[in-house]
Symmetry: C2
Subunit: 416 residues, 2 copies
C-alpha cells in the first residue's frame, strides 16, 4: 500500500507544474467539462451510491449520516452546478498582491501562485469530492482526495467521472488523484509525504482533525471545531438577543458555526434567562446551566466543566451567568475553540472591547455566529473554516488555496 500512496502523490506532484501554469480559460473549461460529466452520469453515480447507503443502513448508521451520504438526481445536479459556479469565480492565480521599486531600481512584485499539491482528507459527504476537486483545479493545484470508508463507492465513481471528463477533453486526468484505500494507514502515509504534498486539509470530526494535526509532517490547515459562544451584555436588546440565540443554536445545530454556549450578564440574568430558556426548551433544546442559572431556573440540568468545553453539535446549550464583559471574554478565550464568537450589546465600548479582545477567527457584534461561512462572507466558495492562525483563518475560499512568490525584475543589479 505504501507504494500505491506514494505513486498517487508522485503523479499529483508531477502534474502540478502543468496545472500551475494553465490560464483561467483552460481551467474554467475543465470545470465545465467536469460538471457536464457528472450530469451525464447520473444513473451510474446513483447506482454506486446505493451500495454505500445499503451498507450504512446495514451497519445501523444514524438517519442523519445516511442522509448526508445519499445522492439523488437533485444532489448530483447541485454538485455539477457547484463546479459551474466555481468556474464563474475570479481566478486568484497571477494576481499581484503588491508591487514596488527599490532605490537600486529592482522592481519587486508579490504574485499569487498555486500551493502545488493539496491533500483533502474528509469523511462521509460524497459531494466534497467534486467540490474540493473543483476548488483545487480553479486555484491551479493538483489534488489528492482521501474520503471516508462510508462513501467509498460514491467517491470512486465521482472521481472516475471527473477524471474521464478531463481525459476525454484533452486535459491531464492526473490533476485529480484519489486514494482508493479507506483505512487510516493511508492517511498516515499521506501525512509524511512532504516531498510531494504541500498542504493537508482535514475536513471532518474532531477525532480526524486531531489525528492529522498530531501526526502530519506535511503542513496542515486545521479546520472546523467550533465551540461558539453568544454573550448577552447588560445593555442588550432582548428581542434581538433571543432571535440571534435561537438562530445560532436551533437553525442548524450540527454545524461548526452553531452556538454551543450562552453567557449572560448577571445584571439581566433574572429577567432574560427565564424568557430565552423557555423558548429554547420549547424548541427542543436541552439547557445545561451553571449554579447561578439554576438559581433562576430550577428545572435545568447542572452544567459541568466538560459541558463548557464541548461542541455539542446537537440541540444542547450550556449557559453561564457572568459578572460582566471581562469574565465573558476570559471564559471565551479559555473554553472557546477560536471559531466564531458574538456579543449582543447596545454599548459602544463593550462591543469594541469584545471584538478586539476575543481571540477567534470571526468575532461578531449583534449578529448570529452562523454567518461564518465562505458563501455568507461572499467568497462564492468554501473549502473549510480554518481555526488556526497560520496561513488562512476563518472561512477559506480560493485564496486560501494559494501561496505567493516574489518576482524580481533587474537590469544587472548586484548586492553591495
Amino acid at each position: 500500500m505504501e507504494n500505491y500512496v506514494i505513486l498517487k502523490a508522485k503523479m499529483a506532484k508531477e502534474s502540478s507544474s502543468e496545472i500551475a501554469k494553465m490560464d483561467t480559460n483552460s481551467k474554467n473549461l475543465m470545470l465545465l467539462k467536469m460538471s457536464e460529466g457528472l450530469e451525464n452520469s447520473l444513473d451510474i453515480i446513483i447506482e454506486e451510491n446505493k451500495k454505500d447507503v445499503f451498507k450504512a443502513k446495514e451497519k445501523g448508521f444514524s438517519s442523519a449520516l445516511i442522509d448526508r451520504l445519499t445522492l439523488n438526481e437533485k444532489r448530483i445536479k447541485e454538485m455539477a452546478n457547484g463546479l459551474r459556479k466555481i468556474a464563474q469565480l475570479d481566478d486568484p492565480i497571477g494576481k499581484t498582491v503588491s508591487a514596488w521599486t527599490r532605490p537600486n531600481g529592482l522592481q519587486i512584485q508579490q504574485v499569487r501562485v498555486p500551493l502545488g499539491v493539496i491533500g483533502i482528507i474528509y469523511e462521509a459527504r460524497p459531494n466534497v469530492t467534486s467540490d474540493a476537486a473543483g476548488l483545487c483545479i480553479k486555484s491551479g493545484n493538483a489534488v489528492i482526495l482521501k474520503g471516508g470508508s462510508e462513501a467509498i463507492n460514491s467517491n470512486k465513481i465521482i472521481v472516475d467521472v471527473l477524471r474521464q471528463s478531463l481525459e476525454k477533453n484533452g486535459f491531464n486526468k492526473e490533476f485529480i488523484q484519489f486514494i482508493d484505500v479507506t483505512d487510516r494507514e493511508a492517511v498516515k502515509m499521506l501525512m509524511k509525504l512532504n516531498e510531494y504534498i504541500d498542504v493537508l486539509i482535514p475536513r471532518g470530526g474532531e477525532g480526524l482533525i486531531k489525528f492529522v494535526v498530531e501526526n502530519s509532517t506535511v503542513p496542515v490547515i486545521e479546520t472546523g471545531v467550533g465551540n461558539c459562544h453568544i454573550y448577552v451584555d447588560s445593555s442588550a436588546d432582548f428581542e434581538m438577543a433571543e432571535n440571534i440565540i435561537i438562530n445560532a443554536k436551533v437553525q442548524r445545530p450540527g454545524v461548526c458555526n452553531a452556538a454551543e454556549s450562552l453567557l449572560v450578564n448577571e445584571d439581566i440574568a433574572s429577567e432574560f434567562l427565564p424568557v430565552i430558556c423557555k423558548k429554547l426548551i420549547d424548541m427542543g433544546v436541552e439547557v445545561r446551566g451553571c449554579e447561578k442559572t439554576r438559581q433562576i431556573i430550577n428545572d435545568v440540568i447542572q452544567a459541568t466543566e466538560e459541558d463548557f468545553k464541548t461542541e455539542f453539535l446537537d440541540l444542547i446549550i450550556s449557559v453561564k451567568v457572568v459578572e460582566g464583559i471581562d469574565e465573558a471574554i476570559k471564559h471565551i478565550n479559555r473554553y472557546g475553540t477560536k471559531h466564531s464568537e458574538s456579543i449582543i450589546t447596545k454599548d459602544y465600548f463593550n462591543a469594541n472591547k469584545f471584538l478586539r479582545e476575543v481571540d477567534a477567527a470571526a468575532v461578531y457584534a449583534n449578529a448570529s455566529t452562523r454567518f461564518t461561512d465562505g458563501f455568507e462572507f461572499g467568497f462564492g466558495a468554501e473549502i473549510g473554516i480554518s481555526t488556526q492562525k497560520m496561513h488562512a483563518r476563518g472561512p477559506m475560499g480560493l485564496e486560501a488555496l494559494t501561496s505567493v512568490k516574489y518576482v524580481v525584475y533587474g537590469e544587472g543589479q548586484i548586492r553591495e
Copy 2:
C-alpha cells in the same frame, strides 16, 4: 525538565493576551527601554560572552563560528540600534486588510492580529536573541527563545537584561521567555505544546530545520535552506552574467541566498564557461562541472548527482550545461530548494517563462540572488526566509508574525 518547559510556555501564553492589545506607543517604548538596557549592560554582556567564546575555542570550533559567537561593544550597540529601528517600523497590528459590506448589511473587516506565542529555535548567533524578541514584541506576540548551547551564557544575560528593562519600566517581563536548557529534549517538548505555542520558527542549519519539521505538531515556518541557481541564457549579456554570478557566489558564500549552482545554455557554453570559470577559480572558488562542462574546461572536478543537490555554503559551485531554458527550469524545479533563482537573459519571452515557471520564493531576471533579504526587499526587518508555501513565503518581516481575524458588525442579522 518537562514541567519547566511547560511552565515557560504557559507564562508566554498567559502574557500573550496582554501584549496583543497593547498600543503601538507602548510597544515602541518597550523596545526603546530594551535597547537602553543593552547599552547599559555592555560590560556584563561581554563578560558572559567571553565564557562562551572560551568554551568554543577549547572545543576547537571554526574561526567562522567563533566570529559569529563573539560580542563586542560595537556588536552590542548594533543590537540596541536594531531594537530602535524596529520601534520605527510601522505596526502591522490593527491594520484592516480588507473590508466590505454584505447584501444583508453585515459589515465585515479582515484585521491584522498577533499570532499569539511564537517559539524561535536558533543556533549560534546571540544577536538573534534581541532581534527576535524585538520583532515579536513589535508584532504583539509573546516569544519563547531557545538558543544553541554554544551561546548559552550570552543568550541568558541578554534575555535577563531585556526582561529587567521591561520590568523596571512597568512592563510585563513574561512577554519574553527563555528556555535555559540546551539539549534537543527541550526542543522536542516545545514542539508538542500546541496548547500554548502558535508557531515555531527554526533558524539554523538544515539538520535543525529538518528535526523541527519532522517532529513538531505545533505549526512550523520552514526557513532557510537555499540551493540557489543562476541560469545564463544564450542571449545573456556576458559581462552582466559574470558580475551577477561572482556577486551571488563570492560576496558572502555562507548565506542561504548565495548561488550554489550555475546552469549555462549550450549555445554559449564554449565561449562563456572558460571566462567565468577562470574568474571564479582565481577568486578561490572550486568548480565542479558536468560532463559537458569538463569537455570545455579540462581541469574542473566532476560534479556528482549529490553536488547538484547540495547547498555548499562555501566557495564551491556546481556547473551544468543545459540544452535551453526548458531543461534549466526542469533542473531547478528538481534540485532547487525553492529559495531564490535567477535567469540572465536579454530575451523577453525567456525571462517571462523563467519567472513564471520556476517554483521558488523569489525568482529574478538579471539580478543577483543575494537580494532575497528582508532589508534588501525594504521590509526594514527580517525574522528569516520562508521556503515553504503556507503562511509566509520568502523574506519575512513583521507581517509574517501576524494572523488575521474577521470583525463583523451587525444590527441583529440572523441567517435565513
